[in-house]
Amino acid sequence: MAIASNTQALFTMSMVAAILPQLIVAFGATLALLLVAWRRSQRTIAIFTSVVLGMSLLVNMRLLTMPAMQVTQLLKVDGYSSFAFSLILISALVALRMSHSFLKAHTEVHDEYYLLLLLMVLGGGVLVTSDHYASLFLGFELLSISLVGLVGYHRESVYSVESGFKYLILSATASSFMLLGIAFIYSVTGNMSFSAAIPNVIYHQQGLGVFFQLGLLLFVSGIVFKLSIAPFHFWTPDVYQGSPTPVTMLMATVSKVAMFVVLLQCIVAQRYLLLENFQLFLLSFAITSMLLGNVMALKQQHLKRLLAYSSIAHMGYLLIVIIVASAQGLAFTWQSTLFYLAAYIVANLSIFMVIALLQLQGNNGLYQEDITRDDLHGLFWRTPSYALLMILGLLSLAGIPLTMGFIGKFYILTQATLAHAWWLIATLIVGSGIALGYYLPLIFKMFEGRSKASDKTKATLGPKVGRRIDKLLVYSFILLGLVLGILPDIINQFIG
């Protein structure tokens, strides 16, 4: 019996304290249901959701320095997972703010949007803390199903059904693959907890070794699908494009952070890296992602698609950290992973924020579905603050010095150099080189053609309500990008 029923209390107060942030979100979701029953109002539920997320964030901040804590077999809370959850909460808060203006543009009450958002955050929270395949699977599904609801949320949009279906079918397939993988692994090892040691004998057990390998491959491909790593990336551009921008923002941040953290957690705990085949899988994933993502993004006109491709490449870069991870440098592996994720999130939030704001102000104040490269034309002269934010984000993604992205990439390179992974380094450099070929033109585009005063007035149109908060958010992210780029140690304090 792996998990025996024991006599002592299932939960202690300290356990509750450890998963309090997740509990707050879960409780918030149920309360929100009641709230809907009591009073249906967009404003109320939006404020309620942000309060829930904010409270959770506050409680979570306190956990950053707490020692690791096992909460039943399923969850394990430590500093790394808490940091990842804070990243998730911050992204969710920003996305919430952006959604507010997006939803305002449409005539409906959007209770389910906020509920789904909360559930998605809960899924992320379960994922980052999970220490068991069951919780991994549940978190994964919670995240996916809520996202399916969100992806096609904007029902009037032409893309709604298409992106919803694509995401549903593909993610369901991926999760079936992952589940089958888990089943195979479980059938061979007899344990589903990450921290359980795998007996060495299994590799030679009556042909079951094959199933173990197969299970591992299926499991990783399921996870990697969510990370949109090539060759499981196909859904990414389509779904990025088709979703409402705040949802894309969530997909690019929350789901990436959660999946990556759980992948690292699982791989580190199970020591899969000792398997040569597994190394090979990850290596091929990383190399194809870095090259393919960057190449595909190169001539992309559609901004959200471009970012989707670039996210493929970025996850490829990040995979390097896992490949070269070793037992000795585990702390550094975690540190670089989380730092890179933080950098990636700040950059993505900045860029998507600008895209969302541009969408709201496109076409003479009407909502504009697609934002292409041409919409950036002369943005700097129209709204310098947006352009500045976008430039900071792009530079950070490109890994230009004095941005967070540079430092993140620098960490990755350091680790790869220590591990003598020259091929990965070469690919990373080639990939980054290609990446400059599409990041920089975007920046140049923003400076092109000083447009006339009429455009300036156009930029100030759009929903007036809440514009002050948007502006504040934009300025604070500009500041954040600048400060963190120059003083990256602020983040390292939390991770270290």
Binding site: F165, K166, I169, L170, T173, A174, F177, V210, Q213, L214, L217, L218, S221, F225, P231, F232, F234, W235, P237, D238, N277, L280, F281, S284, L292, V295, M296, L298, K299, I434, G437
Partner: protein
């Protein structure tokens, strides 16, 4: 710490700041007052400084402003301070820079009055003075280099002051690029110097060099080699700035700038910076006699070439430009021969009379509605008696007729050549020939411009300004009597005295020949240029054509150096650029981009939007990986 010395560059600097920031809003009167008065204060301060210097014992004053940075390297470390150092040599220079500079500012204030960008012009002029003072007063080579580049920048800005005209811009660019070649050489020289001596302080370097000199037997071959290269590279810098062979080509073109600029920068001050540099670093040069010899030969060759070129010019300012080159050639010759004091003395007198010549030429050009062609002048002696007489004074100084300042300085140079170790009779003859050429082209200039009949139709326009006249008269007086200024630089060049004098016997006729040479030239020109002098002798009246023979044109274009450089450097470069018009390297790089783009186009087809294909790809990828892992 001498406050006056420390403050010297700040007066023009303040003026520069005022003019550059508020220039547009200032009236002419205010702008002129600010810039000219700042120069007047500077001149006054330097006069006081000169007086103070003459009463101090060791004839050295310093002013330490602030510590700039510390240069440290394997060879040692050197504090680089912003520190001014005034000795006899720099005193001569600051008096020239501020004194002549003040007079030229005064002239320029009136001459440029009608220009729209008057305040910008005066600001640049002031900035130039600042940079020049820093150059001259610097106690270390880094600061000197700062000033060196500063004057180069100002020269560029001022030559191209009328930037609407393409030729001016081209001239400015040419001046900048050509002098950059010299500057680069100098920068390398400075680095090498620091590498060998571990010092960049001029005093310290001179001291070290003197020590090395006294122990010359003990110095090893390597350090001698080093010093040879240092001296040669520094010479490169000097050659660029002073428009000597082979980097002389920029100076005639630089005459495109406003005439006060030509007077201030391209005659009196900046172009002599090279001379100053060599005199300043004489310690190094004394250790490398070969380079001294090169200096002398370069000077002599420039002197002759410029003299010949001056004979063929049609533009009054270009004649003066070539004349400047040849006079600097004299200075170089003197320096090369070890006649340091004589060289610096000539620098000073030349500044006086050349500034006078340029300013008068400017006045003449203004009077003739910006006509610079000598063949369109003539008979000005009658029309512009005041300017003409001043011009004559300048010319006789240039020709070094006995009694003028030019005579004293040039004689001092020529007298030391014959018996110098690093010069000799050959160079003496060159100098004499140069003097002959000088007198011939001066006479030609005078005959063409001032005698004969007027070959222009417009009325002369006159600028009756007492200030303008005063400045010209002061310059004329300085030119005439500047030779009487006692110049005692023995303390500066004390090490020179240690040189053993060559035991060459001087023939007795040397001085006689030197004195009568200009007269020979005058007599020769009187007959040879008869047609210029009396224009109706030329056959048809009013039509006096320049000789357009092939050789004359060749000389007029500066003896073909521009053409040579064009063939040697510009054409091959253009050829390279031409064959690489499509930028092969770029194309190779762009090939990568194209290749990646191709991949993009191919891969985009994969992303075809069909969900079933995505699923199939998912399965295919897993099958592929599975196959790889099972094999």
């Amino acid at each position: 710490m001498n406050v006056l010395l420390a403050s010297l560059p700040f007066y023009p600097f303040v003026s520069f700041l005022l003019l550059i920031f508020f220039g547009k809003r200032l009236s002419w009167r205010l702008a002129a007052t600010i810039s000219v008065s700042s120069m007047a204060i500077s001149a006054l301060v330097s006069a006081i400084l000169l007086f103070e210097l003459s009463v101090t014992k060791n004839q050295v004053m310093t002013a330490n402003l602030w510590h700039w940075f510390e240069l440290s390297y394997a060879m040692g470390s050197s504090d680089v301070n912003v520190r001014f150092y005034l000795d006899g040599l720099s005193a001569v220079m600051i008096s020239v820079v501020t004194g002549v500079g003040f007079l030229i500012h005064l002239f320029a204030a009136i001459y440029m009055k009608s220009d729209v960008n008057f305040s910008r012009f005066m600001a640049y002029m002031n900035l130039f003075i600042v940079a020049m003072l820093i150059l001259v007063l610097a106690d270390n080579l880094v600061l000197l280099y700062l000033g060196w580049e500063g004057v180069g920048l100002c020269s560029f800005l001022l030559i191209g002051f009328w930037y609407q005209e393409q030729s001016n811009v081209l001239a400015a660019r040419k001046a900048f690029i050509v002098t950059r070649i010299g500057d680069t050489s100098m920068a390398i020289g400075l680095l090498l110097l620091f590498n060998s001596f571990g010092q960049l302080n001029i005093e310290a370097v001179t001291l070290l060099a003197e020590q090395a000199n006294s122990l010359s037997a003990g110095t090893n071959a390597e350090s001698a080699d080093n010093i040879y290269w240092i001296a040669l590279l520094l010479l490169g810098g000097a050659v660029g700035k002073s428009a000597q062979l082979p980097l002389q080509t920029w100076l005639p073109d630089a005459m495109a700038g406003p005439t006060p600029v030509s007077a201030l920068i391209h005659a009196a001050t900046m172009v002599t910076a090279g001379v100053y540099l060599i005199a300043r670093m004489h310690g190094i040069f004394l250790l490398a006699p070969e380079v001294m010899n090169y200096v002398a030969w370069l000077g002599a060759l420039t002197l002759l070439l410029a003299g010949i070129a001056a004979l063929a010019q049609t533009d009054i300012k270009r004649v003066l430009a070539y004349s400047t080159m040849s006079q600097i050639g004299y200075m170089m010759l003197a320096l090369g021969a070890g006649a340091w004091t004589a060289g610096v003395f000539h620098l000073m007198t030349h500044a006086f009379f050349k500034a006078l010549l340029f300013l008068t030429a400017g006045a003449v050009i203004y009077a003739l509605h910006h006509q610079q062609n000598l063949f369109k002048m003539g008979g000005l002696l009658k029309k512009l008696p005041f300017e003409s007489s001043l011009f004559i004074i300048g010319l006789i100084c240039l020709m070094a007729l006995p009694g003028t300042s030019g005579f004293f300085s040039k004689e001092a140079i020529i007298a030391q050549l014959w018996s110098s170790d690093t010069a000799g009779p050959m160079l003496w003859w060159c100098a004499i020939l140069g003097a002959l050429l000088t007198s011939i082209y001066s006479c030609r200039l005078f005959f063409l411009g001032f005698l004969g009949k007027a070959r222009f139709n417009e009325n002369v326009q006159l600028k009756k300004s007492s200030l303008l006249r005063t400045s010209l008269i002061i310059l004329a007086l300085l030119s005439l009597f500047g030779g009487l200024i006692p110049l005692d630089l023995t303390l500066v060049f004390s090490s020179v005295m240690n040189l053993p004098l060559a035991q060459l016997t001087e023939p007795t006729w040397l001085h006689t020949v030197a004195i009568i040479t200009p007269f020979i030239g005058m007599v020769f020109s009187w007959f040879y240029f008869k047609s210029y002098r009396i224009s109706h002798l030329a056959g048809k009246e009013h039509i006096l054509q320049p000789n357009n023979g092939r050789f004359v044109v060749f000389c007029r274009q500066g003896l073909g150096f521009d053409g040579l450089y064009k063939k040697l450097f510009i054409m091959p470069y253009q050829w390279l650029a031409q064959i690489n018009k499509n930028d092969i390297f770029d194309q190779i790089i762009m090939l990568n981009a194209w290749y990646v783009g191709l991949w993009h186009d191919a891969l985009v087809l994969v992303q075809n939007g069909s969900l079933r294909w995505y699923l199939a790809a998912f399965g295919l990828a897993i099958m592929l990986l599975l196959g790889v892992s099972l094999l």
